[in-house]
């Protein structure tokens, strides 16, 4: 059973639209991450969290908000979507206190902003 799930898997919105991407992990991990993947850039970190109620700014945070409501759930918010935010979004979780700090990824959400 998948330990990191994302919804929706695909989303189309218009410029200025409001989008929420959801991520849930059942790994009991404290750390969760949101990345975007674009051709030529690999994955770039948007926001991450150490635990419920915590939020840390990543490398490409502009235009994004995030909220970690529980240990399991991490949301990425695009309040005024722009075409430049068309991308493939991945959520991940990890446990840095475990034997190795491997990041486990969800299946991704494809977002198209028209």
């Amino acid at each position: 059973e998948a330990a990191v799930t994302q919804s929706p898997r695909n989303k189309v919105t218009v410029t200025g639209g409001n989008v929420t991407l959801s991520c849930r992990q059942t790994n009991s991990h404290n750390y969760m991450y949101w990345y975007r993947q674009d051709t030529g850039h690999g994955l770039r970190l948007i926001h991450y969290s150490y635990g419920a109620g915590n939020l840390q700014i990543g490398d490409v945070p502009d235009g994004y908000k995030a909220t970690r409501t529980t240990q399991e759930d991490f949301f990425l918010l695009l309040e005024l979507a722009s075409p430049s935010q068309t991308s493939l979004y991945f959520c991940a979780s990890s446990d840095p206190w475990g034997p190795q700090d491997t990041q486990y990824f969800g299946p991704g959400t494809r977002l198209l902003v028209l």
């Binding site: 750390y31 030529g40 994955l43 970190l45 490398d59 840095p96 491997t102 299946p107 991704g108």
Partner: protein
Amino acid sequence: GDKVKQSPSALSLQEGTNSALRCNFSIAATTVQWFLQNPRGSLMNLFYLVPGTKENGRLKSAFDSKESYSTLHIRDAQLEDSGTYFCAAEGAMLSGSFNKLTFGAGTRLAVCP
């Protein structure tokens, strides 16, 4: 990005042959992870490395923190090895914060019959 540079950017292999992918870091890395993104887009972790080597089946990876590079060797390539391979480095100097990974742009591998 430029802090983690992968080579080659793309590679085509005949089934049954061997190859190596490389990742160079411009600043000190403390750990390295290698991922495979399959053609459907799913990301799978292959290796988590502190300085040293690890082997798993036909895959072997090495991380040399002094020389700031990591390699991923593929032996007897199979069709299911096709996809994009990403390396990612963790290090306080690279990301400025604990536990953040910086990814390379990836190596797109196609294994042909």
